[in-house]
């Protein structure tokens, strides 16, 4: 009955590693995600552009980052790109966040492009026919509709990024997975640390799922005619 002979006390002894790991994972994910969305908006808009000099670089970038494993990207960025460009390494945090931003931006770009292109082109025509410029029509008419459609897939991307952030352990980032590895390496116990790591990730994704559902509800209020009509006095 070795299997049930769990040593949960080991985890308690290493609690500081895990608590620190949770913070590192959260910081990596949130920084990577926010940066990835900002960069992704530019890439996504570039991919909807009719100008070839704008479209092709964006397409190339997205294809490159979606077509290669994130693990390889992390190693290239940490061991090759950053030392070559800056002459030194800035540690796993900078490399990790850079890798997460660059990678998630490619996926976000596709979500943003698809969201924009899913809006009927009559909407753009109607806005332009009223005298709005392309940019104004984008901001007032297309994006408010497209963003609602982007929220669910962007939420999925958030969860995927949180899980993918565990890959930065290969460059010795002390995230959740790293804490588990320390415990297993020191005591040759595998069930306890990795189960705890899994549960911690599960907890974090659960929180994000709830957050995304909340945001989705907030944004759908405008789309739900009955809600907004309440309290309105018809003229």
């Amino acid at each position: 009955m070795d299997f049930l002979d769990m040593r949960w006390d080991l985890i308690w002894d290493y609690r500081e590693f895990f608590i620190n790991g949770i913070w590192v994972t959260i910081v990596l994910t949130i920084c990577g995600y926010i940066g990835g969305i900002i960069f992704g908006v530019f890439l996504g808009l570039g991919k909807t552009s009719k100008r070839k000099w704008l479209y092709w670089p964006c397409k190339l970038y997205v294809d490159l980052f979606r077509g290669t494993p994130m693990l390889v990207q992390i190693l290239i960025i940490h061991l090759a790109l950053i030392p070559t460009v800056f002459g030194q390494s800035f540690g796993f945090m900078v490399s990790g966040i850079t890798a997460l931003i660059l990678n998630s931006a490619a996926y976000n770009a596709e979500i943003i492009r698809a969201g924009i292109e899913s809006i009927d082109k009559g909407q753009m025509e109607a806005a332009r026919s009223l005298g709005l410029t392309h940019g104004q029509a984008m901001r007032r008419v297309i994006l408010p509709q497209a963003i609602r459609r982007m929220i669910p897939p962007l939420g999925n991307e958030f969860i995927a990024l949180l899980k993918d952030s565990s890959l930065v352990t290969v460059i010795a980032a002390n995230d959740i997975l790293y804490a588990a590895k320390i415990v297993s390496g020191a005591h040759f116990r595998f069930w306890e640390p990795y189960l705890v790591a899994a549960v911690l990730y599960l907890l974090l994704t659960f929180i994000i799922t709830k957050l995304v559902a909340f945001i989705e509800r907030r944004f759908s209020i405008d789309y739900n005619p009955r809600k907004k009509r309440e309290g309105r006095v018809d003229v």
Binding site: D120, G122, Q123, E125, A126, A127, R128, S129, L130, G131, L132, T133, Q136, R140, V141, P144, Q145, R148, D222, Y223, P225, K228, R229, R232, D234, V235
Partner: protein
């Protein structure tokens, strides 16, 4: 008011308009009829440059539309357009649909814009729907809102691209009535339509297009009752 000179439009290798010459005078209502694929919608969409012009020129009040020095956005504020599919903005209420462009482009204050919008909604008979969303309205109501939205910019010309083709039959009349009223008020209108009754009653002139050309044009009585061209006769024979 609108002058079209030797207008050509091709999509890739497909020539849709093969040299259109026409002039619309002020306060005139022109109906454009013809079989599908004849280029009549493309012709209309070229007027406010929703389609890029391949060759030729279009002038609105003497200003060449397809000149790189012309601010097309400024021209478009003077040219209202109503689409077959209404194209109302679904994330805005009816009144927001109407006030958006006047507030944003004409810099009207919110209360000015709303007063204008309510006035226009009165005109199309939909004041009580001001705070509804487009998807809560019937097709005919949506199209009337779309007309009000275009009118809110106080355009000098209104373009209608088959405004009743996407409507259930019982809703066609309410939209045509609004358009008739507009015509009586002296609005300059170009209407692409399959409603021959409307063309006959309201139009000052009717244009028959086929194969990318204006085949025949003239006063409605003349064109409908005594068409000269064989193709006009064949087309009218099929639908009347």
């Amino acid at each position: 008011m609108i002058k079209v000179e030797n207008l050509h439009k091709s999509f890739g290798k497909l020539d849709v308009l093969k040299g259109i010459n026409y002039e619309v005078r002020e306060k005139e209502v022109v109906c454009v009829i013809g079989p599908s694929g004849s280029g009549k919608s493309t012709f209309l969409r070229c007027i406010n440059l929703l389609e890029e012009i391949t060759d030729g020129a279009i002038y609105i009040e003497g200003v060449q539309v397809n000149d790189s020095k012309t601010d097309i956005n400024l021209i478009r504020t003077e040219v209202g357009m109503v689409f077959q599919q209404f194209n109302l903005f679904p994330h805005m209420t009816v009144i927001e649909n109407i006030t958006m462009a006047p507030m944003f482009i004409r810099k009207l204050s919110k209360s000015e814009a709303e007063n204008l919008a309510l006035e226009l909604l009165d005109k199309v008979g939909l004041r009580e729907k001001a705070y509804n969303y487009p998807q809560q309205l019937s097709g005919g109501q949506q199209q009337r809102v779309a007309i009000a939205r275009a009118l809110a910019m106080k355009p000098k010309v209104m373009l209608f691209d088959e405004p009743t083709s996407a409507l259930d039959p019982e809703m066609v009349k309410e939209v045509l009535d609004v358009m008739k009223q507009l015509a009586h008020e002296g609005m300059t209108m170009v209407v692409v339509t399959h409603e021959m009754g409307f063309a006959r009653e309201v139009a000052d002139r009717v244009v028959f297009m086929d194969g990318g050309y204006i085949v025949e044009q003239g006063q409605p009585e003349k064109l409908f009752d005594a068409p000269q061209n064989e193709r006009t006769k064949a087309f009218l024979g099929k639908i009347l």
